[in-house]
């Protein structure tokens, strides 16, 4: 099964590291939450893993094969899909076309996958002919996730997929992501809603002060009394 | 021979003025201006028409040329103010084309391709040809010196620092609370004014202007001077301007080396070489020959 291993990764801008010595592992079928205060470097970490930013140090391996700093398109075709927080759909294309683009790495199973995505996000079905730029925030997030799933990835890197959503939609989205485990898809989930994320995740890491401040199972962290302290007041 | 050298030096002076202006607009502020030839033409025709049709003295015509250049530049920058640099490049290019078309077709105003003759010269009467040539060269050099001094002051003044910061990252000065747009427009307008001045000086030197004098190669050569000289750096610019004029003039003598090419083909070959040179300069030495001196203060929050 697929496994993504990150070793002592350091990343940042202009030669200065925002995060350093970050090590973690995500396997297929497990949901790992990546938590931490704003500016801790969660998005930076995802970008460094996905190859949109070249890491300053450390390594990334996919199933034992080194993929550090690999071209993002190649990594996507290898089964690791990053869904960014913003600008994550093609606004001038229709919903149907967006999903079709998502299937680029794996065109043959596109039909079946689309059915699967629409089963996961039924709200997208009536929106299929609509231009993606006209969707609501919630629908856009669903489409962004759906696009990534069209490629049949084994691992997802999700950057705050519930940002700006109503509490109902937050729960729905996290449920959908959690269900992906049944399909054998693993995910590294960056989430602001720490408590919600921990309720669905298997394991979690807290990124703070430039590195991994805490790691453990979701249950362990949920029981943690001073978790809020780590979040410097932005507790969920 | 001396006559030729004086003419070359004067020519270099005009290009130096254009390059100094472009350096303010692009080198310092990061605005791409492809309408150099148009602003140059505008200044030239404005000044020529002021003295020849309106009977104004040169001392009034020169500021008029500056004003016209400033206003045109301001209008162009305002059109594309909130858009990416590509749009300013497009508008300025279109503008230069429009100016050339008007100059070409509005015979009644500009005498079109036949050329507008200029009798007014900013020099005292009765000078010999040599003295007049040297006198004009001195005039141009004086204007260059003034422009150089003024632009160096802008570069070192707080406005200059803001402009350089804008060039690096348009978001930075916004956090300093300055009006980024106002600075950009002001810089572009000053550059336009200087190009108008260059046009005026050129017109009253060459004594007959046609639209052909103001085609896009002027823009390309000015860019070459700024790119080779080094962005933002006025000292390197002097070197760049003379180098470029040297190349432009030097390639004139290719005819002797390459027999079998008529004048038309030779001129085409020269432009090809100049264009290729510019492309290579951008690719391999975009910072120019003399790199810009960094700002001496450290930005807030950075390590010293």
């Amino acid at each position: 099964m697929s496994e993504l291993t990150i070793n002592a990764l350091a990343a940042g801008y202009g030669g200065r590291a925002i995060i350093a010595d970050v090590s973690l592992r995500v396997s297929a079928g497990e949901l790992v939450a990546l938590l931490g205060p704003n500016g801790a470097g969660k998005s930076t970490l995802l970008a460094a893993i996905a190859g949109t930013m070249k890491p300053l140090a450390g390594s990334v391996h996919l199933n034992g094969r080194e993929v550090t700093g690999m071209d993002p398109a190649r990594l996507a075709r290898a089964g690791v899909a990053l869904v960014p927080q913003r600008r994550n759909v093609f606004r001038t294309l229709s919903v149907a076309e967006n999903l079709a683009i998502g299937a680029w790495p794996a065109p043959r199973l596109a039909g079946a996958r689309r059915d699967g995505v629409l089963a996961l996000f039924p709200a997208l079905r009536p929106a299929l002919p609509r231009t993606a730029g006209l969707l609501s925030g919630g629908q856009r997030q669903m489409l962004a996730l759906g696009m990534a799933l069209m490629a049949g990835p084994s691992l997802l890197l999700l950057d705050e997929p519930t940002a700006g959503l109503s509490p109902v939609l937050v729960e729905e989205t996290l449920l959908a992501i959690a269900r992906l485990r049944e399909a054998g898809i693993g995910a590294l989930l960056v989430e602001q809603n720490a408590r919600e994320a921990l309720r669905h995740a298997d394991r979690a890491l807290v990124l703070a002060g430039g590195g991994v401040a805490r790691r453990g199972t979701a249950a362990e962290l949920l029981a943690e009394p001073d978790l809020g302290a780590l979040f410097l007041g932005t507790a969920a | 021979m001396t006559f030729y050298l004086i003419a070359i030096a004067t020519s270099a002076g005009f290009y130096l003025l254009l390059a100094l202006a472009l350096n303010l607009q692009w080198g310092l502020t990061g605005l791409v201006n492809f309408g150099v030839a148009g602003l140059y033409a505008l200044g030239a025709y404005a000044s020529a028409l002021a003295t020849e049709r309106l009977g104004l003295p040169f001392l009034l015509a020169l500021p008029m040329a500056a004003l016209v250049g400033a206003l045109a530049a301001l209008m162009l920058a305002a059109l594309s103010a909130r858009l990416s640099g590509d749009y300013l490049a497009i508008v300025t290019l279109g503008f230069a084309e429009l100016i050339r078309l008007i100059a070409m077709n509005e015979d009644w105003l500009t005498r079109g391709p036949r050329g507008l003759a200029i009798a007014t010269r900013p020099l005292p009467e009765g000078l010999t040809r040599e003295a007049a040539a040297i006198g004009y060269l001195l005039l141009v050099l004086a204007v260059v010196a003034i422009a150089f001094w003024a632009l160096e002051r802008i570069r070192r003044a707080p406005m200059g620092r803001v402009l350089r910061a804008i060039r690096e990252d348009a978001l930075v000065p916004a956090t300093l609370g300055r009006d980024v747009q106002a600075f950009r427009l002001r810089a572009f307008a000053i550059g336009g004014a200087l190009m108008g001045v260059a046009g005026s000086l050129y017109a009253h030197w060459v004594l007959s202007i046609t639209p052909d004098h103001f085609q896009t190669p002027v823009t390309i050569i000015t860019w070459m001077a700024v790119v080779i000289g080094g962005a933002g750096n006025n000292r390197g610019l002097v070197l760049g301007a003379f180098l470029v004029v040297g190349i432009v003039e030097g390639t004139r003598f290719l005819g002797g080396v390459l027999p079998g090419l008529d004048a038309e083909r030779l001129s085409a070959l020269r432009i090809v070489l100049i264009g290729v040179l510019l492309i290579l300069a951008i690719r391999f030495r975009p910072q120019g020959l003399i790199a810009e001196q960094p700002l001496r203060h450290t930005p807030p929050g950075a390590q010293p």
Binding site: P72, A73, I101 | W26, S80, D86, V91, D169, A170, P217
Partner: protein, 289 residues
């Protein structure tokens, strides 16, 4: 009125293909490629060479010209623009203007600036519903319509067309979704080159075939693309028709020489009133300088 419609379509046929190519490249690669005009001129000369020198029929010559310009644009991209893909915006802009002059003057070097025309049989204009229709112009319209229909359909229906539209919308997201941007770049350059070549070849019917042919059309092409909305191929076609219409109407009041001037004024108005154009995506800040 019919005459006006026809004249509009005839002018639009010259501008639209190049505008489509320009808009796709601008959206995909992030810069305005000012060499489009020179490529058009190269296309006209290539067609002329095939037609007048080699004796090919004009349709074959047009196809040959499109192949030639497709290759030309790809070579130029590899040699000049691709190495600058991390460079600030001005480097690409200034290089493209320099390249435009290199190409134009290479043409001047090879062919000199004598006025030429295609070797096509002279025929009388057709009269239809009170309008005079030159056969050349009719053929141009047909060629443009057919080519653009194929291209627009391909962009809409074919996977590579969809990928190009996606990358034109957001190149980095396209990469994240697995689209090979490098190969797409090649495809886009070939397509844009062929379209510019078509425009140039068609222009050679009504304008004199000389090295500066493209430069006078550049402003109209760019204005059409911006009016239509950068990144939208149908937008560029629409923009071309609108600009052509305005030009045809305005030309009745001024001389034909002012066409680029009209293009510039149209451009200024678009930027003032609706900079994202008719069908384009909302504008971002654009490449940094």
């Amino acid at each position: 009125m019919i005459q006006l419609i026809f004249d509009t379509l005839a002018t639009a046929a010259l501008v639209a293909p190049a505008a489509v190519g320009f808009t796709l490249i601008f959206a995909l690669l992030g810069f305005a490629n000012f060499a489009v005009g020179a490529v058009m001129a190269a296309g006209a000369f290539a067609a002329w060479t095939a037609n007048a020198l080699l004796g090919w029929p004009i349709s074959a010559a047009t196809a040959a010209a499109m192949l030639a310009t497709a290759a030309l644009v790809l070579v130029c991209d590899r040699a000049v623009f691709r190495p600058l893909r991390e460079a600030p915006g001005w480097a690409l802009l200034v290089s493209s203007v320099a390249l435009s002059f290199v190409i134009e003057n290479l043409l001047r070097l090879i062919f000199r600036a004598d006025v030429r025309g295609y070797d096509v049989p002279l025929s009388r204009p057709l009269i239809w519903l009170d309008a005079r229709i030159a056969p050349d112009a009719a053929w141009s319209i047909l060629a443009a319509v057919v080519t653009l229909a194929v291209v627009l359909a391909g962009l809409r229906l074919l996977p590579w067309g969809r990928a190009l539209r996606a990358a034109a919308d957001d190149a980095s997201l396209a990469a994240l979704r697995g689209i090979p941007i490098g190969r797409l770049r090649v495809f886009a350059n070939l397509l844009a080159g062929a379209l510019a070549g078509l425009s140039g070849t068609l222009a050679g019917f009504s304008l004199a075939i000389e090295p500066g042919l493209g430069w006078s059309l550049t402003v109209s092409v760019i204005a059409a693309a911006i009016l239509g909305g950068i990144g939208s191929a149908p937008g560029a076609v629409l923009g071309a028709v609108l600009i052509a219409f305005v030009e045809e109407v305005a030309v009745k009041f001024t001389t034909p020489a002012y066409r680029p001037g009209i293009g510039f004024i149209a451009l200024a108005l678009v930027l003032l009133l609706r900079p994202q154009g008719l069908l384009g995506k909302p504008l971002a800040a654009g490449r940094d300088q």
